[in-house]
Symmetry: C3
Subunit: 217 residues, 3 copies
Amino acid sequence: MGYNLRMAFRLTPHERGFYPLFTRAAENIVRAADDLALLVAAAPEDRPPLATRVKDAENAGDEVTHEILVKLNQTFVTPFDREDIYRLTSSLDDVVDFMEEAADRIVLYRLEELPPGMRTQVDVLRRAAAATAEAMPRLATMAELREYWVHVNSLEDEGDVAYRALLADLLAPPEGAPALDVLTILKLKEVVEVLEEAADAFEHVANTVESIAVKES
Amino acid sequence: MGYNLRMAFRLTPHERGFYPLFTRAAENIVRAADDLALLVAAAPEDRPPLATRVKDAENAGDEVTHEILVKLNQTFVTPFDREDIYRLTSSLDDVVDFMEEAADRIVLYRLEELPPGMRTQVDVLRRAAAATAEAMPRLATMAELREYWVHVNSLEDEGDVAYRALLADLLAPPEGAPALDVLTILKLKEVVEVLEEAADAFEHVANTVESIAVKES
Amino acid sequence: MGYNLRMAFRLTPHERGFYPLFTRAAENIVRAADDLALLVAAAPEDRPPLATRVKDAENAGDEVTHEILVKLNQTFVTPFDREDIYRLTSSLDDVVDFMEEAADRIVLYRLEELPPGMRTQVDVLRRAAAATAEAMPRLATMAELREYWVHVNSLEDEGDVAYRALLADLLAPPEGAPALDVLTILKLKEVVEVLEEAADAFEHVANTVESIAVKES
């Protein structure tokens, strides 16, 4: 009576199976962000094994993505629009892809010293990862999701400030700063940019959750 | 009889409230484009206050975005798909974000002389802004929207030509052109690219309007 | 009985008219990819006419895009969601746009020798083009589409490996490699990046087909 069909179906075990998968995807992102944070704080010779760990997280993420899509194919009644499940899944996937690309570039370009602002960028990613992992299980009840997306949006602003300052320091170094050669500037720019893409990807996840919640409300 | 339910609802004051908000968002974009045009024509020392004005426009844009999303949450019957309202809102938001980023970069990188082609890029943005501001109120009646999106698409082509020529002049300067140092080339490239993103964002707005109109037709 | 309304309508000549248009768009992409492959293998002086041919393919693509959108406007019952037709059309359009941009940049930047990895990138594009052209007619029956998108996804992985290696060789050249001047590095980077965007665009086409198939299943 008071409840709609979709809410009723939400109780069936089959379709509830999506939530643990989203949670697993987000926990995997937490792992990737933690290893990326270790990597940007590590000495150059200690970075390759940490990049491998981020790569492992990316592979684990691909598996969860695949599991969700298989489940989507097999499920008749989904907890929310098929397209939204699809979009949420692929935006979670993007996050870990960008993190892996950042780790890979740092190692592949044989970068030595990293600018401190890059640690700020990664710290923003870690906090966004934690917020996302906490929010995913709440999709089941649509509870307190607003706090989550407001928080991720403000983290993205913080990341954007760090990103702009880093780019400005690379391209227009403040007086007295050590002069970097142009190739080093280009390499650092590539890393800084892909970290910013990871922050944007977290915002896409949050926006997708917001649009799901808006439809359900 | 002749009209469908949605058209009937379109007359209710509550849901009609979306159109003035889209119009306000677009008028704000006009303001940002005007200030950006002043900025690229100004002497370096006159640019910072103009960049602040573009930033103000971005903040005003964020407020309109927020108002639209709050309204979306409170409105049961929307003038078109919730998702389309969402997409239109966020693509209008993107336009002003990219403009603000361009203004910020010009000041932050302490650029001196700007290539004339950059003024062409900004001129395209101004015309796209004007076309968008004129089109938004017509969403209420879906009148003459086709002219609008055809126009914005052709402006985007024009912007693309300017963008490609600028990049080519920076990376493969024509004989006899004054040689720029590599860091200046990189800085100008960052500005030119984000202006091109603003032009693309106008096209996304137009594409969203087109897809709304296609559904309604 | 056993079939739904949409399947029944799928037999009407009018709406079946979409499939040949998607196929034409994809065959046009094959043409563009073939000419691009000739271009990257050609001597610098032989490249401009080949870039013109890629540009012709882009124009032909724009015409097909336009025909599909006009048809979409005139068709009451579409073979799948209007929005999916729209998205498929625009992602097919993106592919040829990026290819044209790559060809244009190679000529415009007056590049001389191209790194061998760039041919690998273009070879991936050719194979993705062939796979896409074979898949488009199968949209009519939704047969064997899974093989197609799995294949394109694995091609995109292959392209990504080539892209990363190229970027690393440009920014952190292996010992003993001929030193390139920074402007040449920047020019090659612009080409390599837009070729990667073309590979990504093929993946978007495949993802759109996948999401259409998922809805229909």
